[in-house]
């Protein structure tokens, strides 16, 4: 059974003063297996952020269901959502979402503290994650004192420290220069190798080329996907580029 299953997902926004309805997602179906590194690609306005918000339980679908670890997220009561997010999901955002008032260390501790964990336990977890992500030296610093790449690593550490079932990443390289972005993607590959399930939303071909599978979303629908298989990152990059070219020129794709 897949870790995450999305069935017939539909999301319709109604504009503020009644009237117009905008369909952001219509009939989205896909699944992510445990240990998979999947990427969702699409243009601005294709609905990928809406999809991620729904997966993150921060938004509710109009119809359809999201099943994570055998549990339908739509049936979770409002009051338990925060706890559910904390225990099962890890987030990495484009703009890091670190708190300026906390040191790097405290930012990483945040979800564990919210979960009411003991300091000793938290400290052990932090040490191993910090080494893995190469941020052991900056733990006492503050977010405004470190580089963008280090900030994003901190955000990944914060997401991983709760051992989430799935790591959701929203344009994680969007705010980084190409060198930092490359290093960060390597990090993603590494944690994926350690068995972490990752679902990343991006419009960067380079970012997507690190994923094991890329799903393409357009006008609220998943209409194509490619597998990496044994391809290298560069080969994958070429394949994604070609796919996008065909997509943009409006051609038909056939498997």
């Amino acid at each position: 059974m897949p870790l995450l299953t999305v069935n017939n997902l539909k999301k319709v926004y109604t504009t503020r003063f009644g009237g117009n309805k905008v369909t952001a997602l219509k009939n989205v179906n896909f699944s992510v297996e445990e240990g998979e590194f999947a990427a969702i690609m699409g243009e601005s306005g294709s609905g990928k952020t809406t999809l991620l918000n729904i997966l993150a339980t921060m938004d509710r679908p109009t119809s359809g269901e999201v099943i994570l670890n055998g549990r339908n997220t739509g049936s979770i009561h409002e009051n338990e959502l925060a706890k559910f997010r904390r225990e099962h999901l890890g987030f990495v955002f484009q703009d890091f979402n670190l708190l300026d008032t906390f040191s790097i260390e405290d930012n990483i501790y945040l979800p564990l503290v919210l979960a009411g964990k003991e300091y000793g336990e938290m400290n052990d977890k932090l040490k191993s994650i910090a080494i893995k992500l190469g941020i052991s030296d900056i733990l006492k610093k503050y977010p405004y004192e470190v580089s963008g790449g280090q900030k994003q690593r901190t955000a990944i550490a914060r997401a991983l420290i709760t051992d989430p079932a799935i790591l959701l990443a929203d344009e994680p390289t969007g705010a980084l220069d190409s060198k930092s972005a490359g290093a960060l993607l390597k990090t993603f590959s590494d944690i994926h190798k350690d068995g972490q399930t990752i679902l990343m939303v991006t419009h960067s071909v380079k970012a997507a080329s690190h994923a094991g599978r890329v799903l393409f979303i357009k006008d609220g629908e998943i209409f194509h996907q490619i597998y990496k298989g044994n391809m290298t990152n560069d080969e994958m990059y070429m394949k994604i580029s070609n796919t996008l070219t065909i997509l943009l020129s409006g051609g038909d794709l056939s498997e």
Partner: protein, 679 residues
């Protein structure tokens, strides 16, 4: 460009920024109204010649200045806040092609419209309210002069002048600021990364020292004459201590909490401690201001309320008997001037008795005695007269044994004394324990019976407000005269005047009030007519009553008025604090929700934080009041209020009312904070 476009833009901007312009307008309007009212009342009082009017004018003038300073502060504070919030908006105008002078024009119109609008509105409100306030004031003073209170054009002109000036300076300031800023700075958001505040231990300790020193002074002051000076020093120390503690002490304290990992890494403490640290950095000054203002409101209100409510007590302390007369006894001086008088006390008693019969009033609690009274100091067991300087003074009051024993009926009385023996009483243990004392050059042994006896109320109240006082009973009249001569010889200069032996004759009156007043008014003439020598003081409790009520009533009124202004300023600072924090905290709480904090938890943490920040200043203000209690009592004693229970009651009442108002302000402002954070 079309000229009206600036005005239109300005109107639009005011409408869009109404969450900040509304309090700006309210502040301007309210300050205008308060200022107008104060000025018009002062002018009315100045032209109306009623008893106590001159005292009141002086007090009101003081209030005018306080109000003026506060108006400037409040308007500048609110304007500064307004501008800070709008950097980005103004930067955008600049980028979109408006030159700075164009933006300046828009800002100009905004202040013209909002500022002058609020000024006119405030003035109209003030006109209506002033009439009401004036009627309240007259009622409080129990005056029924029936004079008209119309629109005061003078007051309106002064008010308009002052506020126009304030707003013009505001406009100039805004434009100056605009010129100095680069567009990129305007566009940039202010959250360029805030450094975690460092604990400044030295300053924190200095704060504790200042505060402790201020408290120590306030608690230990015994002498009410000194109290005013000490109070001033103590106030300065406490203000300095409050600022230092809020700015550095709070952060030092939070640092200690943070060091304790077991405490810090706990669900609620974690966010509260770090959030508080930044809040204290930004708001320490504001909080210290709120604390000082709250303390000022509480002191002003509790004292003026006590004085007004305790007016009868005050009168009784000032006038121990209804009618007090005294006469100088100086036959030697008379002889030098070739005069000779009959100093028979019974003549005085008879004259007054006849006078009382004439006015149909009955004399009660009659009390007559010879005395000398002077101020000096005691060094190494020797009393010398001294009036000058701020070092502690001792009040010496001496009477004869015969007068002491006859004053209280049914008293066993004190045993006869040798000439060089005295009885000595003092509430100060230092003096009460003396077994001998030199009064100028003559040494007296203190009779040991002194220490076993309580001074009778009749005499105790005579020592009045002096904490350091000695009450001396001498063997006979000749000894009293000797003591007086010695005191006058010991005076270092003629400036110190002459201390005389006085004959005091005082009593209470029964009868109807108009008779008593008439009796009192004509008493001196009657005494002179009877050829009683050297009539000194003839005073009564009835005539000055109106004056007392007016003076204390106006103090009360000003207290409430200034209290209201301080409270306004406090509420305004609080409101702006909430709004500015709301904007900053919004992003922070969105992130916390993203990493798995529920809305309820966020709400609880927010509540916890604002509540702490909110109640901190008022808590400290109450602590200040508690420590100031002793010194305020001493100051009130100078104004003849010695009723401690009354003052405690008034203080508690004031604190309660203040806390309720503060709480309402908190509730109202907290709501706008929540709206900001949750939108």
């Amino acid at each position: 460009m079309n000229k009206s476009i600036y005005r239109k833009l300005a109107i639009n901007n005011i409408r869009k920024n109404k969450s900040t312009y509304l309090p700006f307008g309210l502040a301007g309007g309210t300050m205008t109204a308060l200022f107008y009212m104060l000025i018009s009342i002062r002018n009315q009082v100045a032209v109306t010649a009623f008893v106590g009017g001159s005292d009141m004018k002086i007090i009101l003038n003081l209030g005018v200045w306080v109000c003026c300073i506060f108006s400037v502060l409040v308007i500048f504070y609110t304007n500064g806040f307004l501008l800070k919030r709008r950097n980005k908006e103004l930067g955008l105008y600049n980028v979109l092609g408006m030159e700075k002078r164009h933006i300046g024009k828009v800002l100009f119109w905004e202040i013209i419209l909002a500022g002058f609008g609020s000024m006119i509105g405030g003035l109209l409100g003030g006109l209506l309210f002033a009439k009401l306030m004036f009627l309240v004031l007259l009622n409080m003073l129990h005056l029924n002069t029936g004079f008209e209170f119309g629109i005061s054009f003078d007051a309106a002109a002064v008010t308009l002048g002052l506020f126009t000036l304030i707003f013009i300076v505001t406009i100039l300031y805004n434009n100056l600021r605009l010129i100095r800023l680069k567009p990129i700075e305007l566009l940039q958001e202010s959250n360029a990364g805030e450094r975690e505040p460092r604990a400044k231990w030295v300053l924190a300790i200095l704060g504790v020292i200042c505060l402790s020193a201020g408290y120590y002074l306030a608690i230990t002051t015994q002498n009410p004459i000194e109290a005013l000076f000490v109070f001033f020093i103590a106030v300065l120390l406490v203000i300095a201590g409050t600022f230092l503690l809020f700015i550095t002490g709070s952060i030092a304290f939070l640092k200690i909490l943070k060091k304790n990992k077991g405490y810090y890494y706990h669900k609620t403490h974690f966010i509260t401690v770090s959030g508080m640290m930044y809040r204290m950095k930004q708001n320490a000054v504001g909080l210290a201001e709120i604390c000082i203002l709250s303390t000022a409101v509480l002191v002003v209100l509790s004292t003026t309320v006590s004085l007004y409510v305790g007016i009868d007590d005050v009168m009784r302390t000032r006038y121990p008997s209804d009618v007090i007369t005294n006469y100088i006894y100086e036959p030697e001086e008379d002889a030098k001037n070739g005069m000779e008088y009959d100093y028979d006390p019974s003549l005085i008693a008879e004259t007054i008795r006849d006078h009382a019969m004439k006015y149909d009033v009955q004399m009660e609690d009659i009390q007559g005695h010879y005395s000398i009274g002077t101020v000096g100091k005691i060094n190494e067991g020797r009393f010398t007269p001294d009036y000058y300087g701020l070092d502690s003074k001792v009040f010496l009051y001496a009477i004869t044994l015969a007068d002491y024993n006859s004053a209280v009926e049914g008293n066993a009385g004190l045993a006869p004394l040798d000439n060089d023996h005295i009885y000595l009483f003092s509430i100060s243990p230092e003096f009460a324990s003396m077994d001998s004392i030199a009064i100028t050059d003559e040494v007296f042994r203190v009779d040991p019976a002194s220490s076993d006896m309580e001074l009778d109320e009749v005499w105790a109240k005579r020592l009045g407000i002096y904490a350091d006082a000695i009450f001396v009973v001498v063997s006979d009249f000749d000894e009293l005269v000797l003591m007086q001569t010695g005191i006058n010889d010991a005076k270092s200069s003629d400036d110190m005047g002459i201390t005389s032996v006085m004959y005091n004759y005082e009593f209470n009156l029964e009868g109807n009030l108009s008779d008593k007043e008439e009796f009192s008014r004509t008493l001196r003439a009657a005494l002179n007519e009877a050829d009683i020598p050297h009539v000194a003081t003839v005073e009564n409790i009835f005539t000055p009553r109106q004056e007392f009520i007016e003076l204390y009533g106006s103090l009360f009124f000003i207290g409430i008025f200034i209290g209201a202004i301080f409270l306004m300023a406090t509420a305004m600072i609080i409101y702006y604090k909430q709004i500015s924090e709301g904007y900053e905290d919004r992003g922070r709480f969105v992130i916390m929700q993203n990493v798995g904090m529920s809305r309820e938890e966020v709400k609880r943490v927010i509540k916890n934080q604002i509540r702490t920040v909110f109640y901190l200043p008022i808590m400290l203000a109450i602590v200040h009041i508690a420590f100031a209690f002793n010194i305020i009592l001493k100051l009130l004693a100078m104004l003849n209020l010695t009723n401690v229970t009354l003052f405690i009651g008034c203080t508690l009442g004031t604190i309660l009312v203040f806390a309720i108002i503060y709480w309402i302000v908190y509730k109202l402002t907290a709501r706008s904070y929540y709206q900001l954070v949750h939108s």
